[in-house]
């Protein structure tokens, strides 16, 4: 029975091709928008999580509170704070460093990439970023520089290679290694040197941009976070700093992403509602157009419930077809945006999501049925004689 109605509904859609397709187009756009937006924001989340996982969840980040303008440097993190942490004895390694844009000269060309000076950072970098060629910088190797992939290829007219010489703020460095592409422009456009060399060329003595401390195994990170806060507060005499775990950052980002996702899906949902109203409109017109046909079907034995089913299935089918193409277009759209974005230097992992695709299909079918419910009810209630007389 149901399969018969299905074929009947399909037949009737096929006989009013253009209008049916225009109605379906509304649903296609709505579903495609929702699928694309959801998979893009899922992709964004996955990308961020992946980068944090590489960074490691067993670390505490210590940085100055809020924005640091010129002249407030004395409120920032210094070597003294690092010493406080070292004395606590709860950390395996304490990496710290600073970063700022620097004047870099290579082959008579001057650019301003980001320069990062780090201490004890070799392991951290080894964990997060692979080498394309050469080696990482050893401690005390104050003439060595390690460069991101964009610095090597793209920043200067000439490619920068291992063993080339570059000048940073007037001091010569030798390139010892080139990093693999990370996928975000900030990191790929960075030159890494030791913190001592950094302080020498930028005239700094004890300022530290941030500290990333890896805790010893078995130490409770939340507990330690509180202890670090207390110790630093005592030694510094202020609370002008923050101690964060990567998990907390991830949670914060997750919250922000959630809000963005809700807004985006809300916007896409509006277009789906408009698509649903399109189906309702089209089904009302169809009921009017086919009043006589409904009368005929009743005259040859169709019950009210038969007519209701036929029209509900027809509108549900329009929703389903719309959902089908919407899911395909939405998925292709998000995959290509992900691909495009990654190639443009902003890494974005977008994957096919079967659950989301099924959801899109089912949702569109239900939207179609709901939109068709009122017209279908009206059709089923028509009196056979009146319907037959309708011109």
């Amino acid at each position: 029975m149901i399969s018969d109605y299905f074929l009947l509904a399909l037949n009737s859609i096929m006989h009013r091709k253009l209008r049916a397709w225009l109605t379906i187009l509304g649903i296609v756009i709505g579903v495609a928008a929702i699928v694309a937006l959801i998979s893009l924001s899922l992709g964004l989340q996955a990308t961020i999580e992946e980068q944090f996982e590489a960074f490691g969840a067993d670390r505490l980040l210590i940085a100055a509170q809020g924005f640091q303008g010129p002249g407030t440097a004395s409120d920032g993190i210094t070597d003294k704070d690092v010493e406080v942490l070292e004395r606590m004895g709860a950390f395996k390694t304490i990496s710290y460093g600073s970063a700022r844009p620097g004047e870099v000269e290579f082959s008579n060309e001057v650019k301003f990439p980001s320069v990062f000076g780090g201490k004890n950072g070799k392991e951290l970098l080894e964990d997060t970023t692979d080498l394309k060629e050469g080696r990482y910088i050893d401690e005390g190797d104050d003439n060595a520089a390690l460069i991101g992939s964009r610095v090597a290829d793209g920043l200067f007219d000439k490619k920068v290679r291992v063993r080339n010489k570059i000048t940073i703020a007037g001091k010569d460095f030798r390139i010892v290694g080139v990093l693999e592409e990370v996928g975000n422009q900030q990191d790929d456009n960075t030159i890494y040197i030791t913190l001592d060399a950094y302080r020498e060329i930028f005239g700094q003595t004890n300022e530290v941009g941030f500290i990333s401390a890896q805790i010893k195994p078995g130490v409770d990170i939340i507990n330690l976070q509180d202890r670090v806060k207390r110790e630093l507060k005592r030694s510094r005499g202020d609370e002008n700093f923050q101690v964060i775990t990567p998990t907390q950052i991830l949670e914060q980002i997750g919250t922000i992403l959630g809000v963005i996702q809700a807004v985006l899906v809300g916007i896409a949902a509006i277009s789906l509602v408009v698509g649903g109203i399109g189906i309702t409109n089209s089904m009302y017109t169809t009921v009017l157009e086919r009043t006589k046909e409904i009368g005929i079907m009743k005259a040859i034995g169709a019950r009210n419930s038969d007519i209701l089913s036929i029209f509900l299935i027809e509108s549900g089918l329009m929703g389903f077809v719309g959902g089908f193409f919407g899911v395909i277009i939405g998925t292709l759209l998000s995959l290509s945006i992900g691909e495009f974005s990654t190639q443009a230097g902003f890494k974005l992992i977008v994957t096919m999501n079967p659950g989301l695709m099924l959801f899109g299909l089912g949702f569109a079918f239900i939207i179609g049925m709901i939109s068709g419910a009122l017209p279908a009810r009206q059709a089923s209630k028509l009196k056979p004689v009146d319907a037959l007389r309708y011109e």
Binding site: M14, K298, I300, A302, P384
Partner: protein, 229 residues
């Protein structure tokens, strides 16, 4: 003879604005099983209303209509649909085929509403179409058929659930006289061969002359029933 249909004091009143207009005003009629009855009368005398009431397409305002000794005048909509589907076959003046379905699909449709499976439906629809001489037009859409061919499809459709009663409202009204005669002959042959009760509303004397009996309607009442010799 067994009576299959009986109308007792049947009224049908339409409200036209504030005025009540009685299309049927106490009509009485008995129809025998297996007969060919013609209903004639001037325009507005209630012929079609009477036919629709007998065929469970319309519900009378007052009175009783017995079909196989069961009063169908005040049944629920789904019961009426069952009666229309199983016991009655309709033939209309303007054919009333579903334009998006082929001849085969149109003839098979009443069987679908009775839950008969696709194979059986199509087999019987094919046989019926062959029996009305349209074995070569199975897959034609109604738009590709002539008036006479369309009415043949409608006749095949009316027979699809093997009903006891066939109701025809001006079945030749939209056809030229030659085609009309062919259609009438087809109906008459079917009625005799399969012993169906055939009730035809008509203006056409050629039809009423061939009927077993003629009921004359005037102002919503049966004023005379005569036997044809």
């Amino acid at each position: 003879m067994n009576k299959i249909i009986e109308l007792k004091e049947v009224w049908k009143i339409y409200k036209l604005g504030k005025v009540d207009f009685p299309a049927l005003s106490g009509a009485n009629l008995e129809i025998n099983k297996g007969e060919f009855l013609a209903i004639i009368g001037p325009s507005g005398s209630g012929k079609s209303t009477m036919l629709n009431s007998v065929g469970a397409l319309d519900v009378p305002s007052k009175g009783q209509i017995f079909l196989d000794n069961r009063d169908i005048a005040h049944l629920h909509e789904s019961d009426l649909a069952q009666i229309r589907g199983k016991k009655i076959g309709f033939i209309f003046q303007s054919f009333h085929l579903i334009p998006s379905l082929s001849a085969l699909g149109n003839v098979a449709l009443p069987m679908m509403f009775q839950g008969i499976n696709k194979y059986e439906r199509e087999k019987r629809a094919k046989e019926l179409l062959e029996s009305v001489g349209l074995g070569d037009k199975l897959n034609n859409l109604p738009g590709q058929l002539s008036g006479g061919q369309s009415q043949r499809v409608a006749i095949a459709r009316a027979l699809s659930n093997n009903p006891e009663v066939i109701l025809a409202d001006e079945p030749t009204g939209n056809l030229d006289s030659k085609t009309g005669e062919d259609i009438l002959k087809l109906l008459r042959d079917l009625q005799k061969r399969e012993n169906k009760t055939l009730i035809v509303v008509t203006h056409d004397e050629k039809i009423s002359k061939q009927a077993d009996r003629i009921a004359y309607l005037s102002d919503g009442k049966v004023i005379k029933v005569s036997k044809n010799k």
